[in-house]
């Protein structure tokens, strides 16, 4: 179950359980349109994709030391361009 999509699409929801469903703050069950939920695109996906590919801090400092600012920026820019912000 895509919890993040449910919270984004149904602002009244405060609890989501894979087995029990979604509920509002008063414990009332909120009916979920799974087609809508499954079609939802996470606007933060690009952040996670970038984070997975950024070099470690140690490697970035190493690039800065050996290649300078331009080399470091080119490395980071390549990843940002690969996963553009929507």
């Amino acid at each position: 179950m895509n919890h993040k999509a449910i919270y984004a699409l149904y602002p009244q929801v405060v609890i989501v359980d894979d087995g029990e469903g979604a509920f509002d703050k008063d414990g009332n069950k909120v009916e979920i349109d799974l087609e809508l939920v499954n079609a939802w695109v996470d606007p933060d996906t690009y952040k996670h994709q970038r984070a997975a590919e950024y070099p470690s801090f140690a490697d970035q400092f190493d690039t800065l030391y050996h290649g300078g600012y331009d080399a470091w920026k080119a490395q980071i820019d390549a990843i940002k361009s690969k996963y553009p912000k929507p």
Binding site: M1, H3, K4, Y7, V13, V14, I15, V16, D17, D18, G19, E20, K25, D44, K47, H48, A51, A52
Partner: protein, 197 residues
């Protein structure tokens, strides 16, 4: 006649019960069967119930809320028994902090002392800027309760977010990327043991 008379001396009044005073010695090897739970020696575990949650629960609230699947009831056999509550809750957060605690019949049982407005919790998970979205921490909670009742008791593990609007998760990370090596799916559990006093 002699045997019948001897038996009558041992078990008087036709009660069918052998008085303690008539037992001179009894080898331990002669003791078989099961000691009734209510007569179990102090420290004996006389009852255990447990639940494990393997799917995902999430909450977007600052109010402590029961985690579905980590709510368990037990009816003590004796009012003098202790209840050992053990819970393991794996928590991920989308920001700030996440808190957890144990309750008995909806009342917190293992939290810090009151200190003005400060949240009273049993465990805390911090979201760090560098890897908070990809992290899930497992909080272990143990509490020895003395309920002094034989009425049914309900114990629960609860969670809440540290601040709005952050969503917190049980058994997954915030980012929850679908990779083979990172951001696992986890399991949480609660176990209740009745210990004879």
């Amino acid at each position: 006649m002699g045997i019948a008379r001897n038996i009558a001396r041992l078990i008087p009044n036709g009660s069918g019960l052998l008085p303690n005073a008539n037992i001179e010695a009894l080898a331990a090897s002669k003791l078989t069967g099961q000691v009734p739970d209510a007569n179990a020696p102090s420290g004996s575990v006389i009852q255990v119930v447990s639940a494990t949650k393997t799917d995902v629960f999430s909450l977007a609230s600052l109010t402590f809320t029961d985690v579905t699947g980590l709510v368990l009831s037990i009816t003590p056999i004796s009012a003098s028994s202790k209840i050992l509550v053990m819970a393991s809750v794996s928590i991920g957060s989308s920001g700030d902090f996440a808190y957890t605690r144990l309750t008995k019949n909806s009342n917190p049982i293992n939290v810090g002392d009151a200190a003005s407005n400060r949240p009273r919790v049993a465990g805390s998970v911090v979201y760090t800027a560098s890897n908070g979205a990809y992290n899930c921490e497992t909080i272990q909670m143990t509490h020895l309760d003395s309920p002094a009742t034989t009425s049914t008791l309900t114990y629960a593990a609860q969670i809440r977010s540290g601040s709005s609007p952050f969503t917190i998760y049980v058994n997954r990370t915030d980012a929850d990327r679908d990779t083979a090596h990172y951001e696992p799916r986890l399991a949480s559990s609660i176990t209740l043991m009745e210990i004879a006093a």
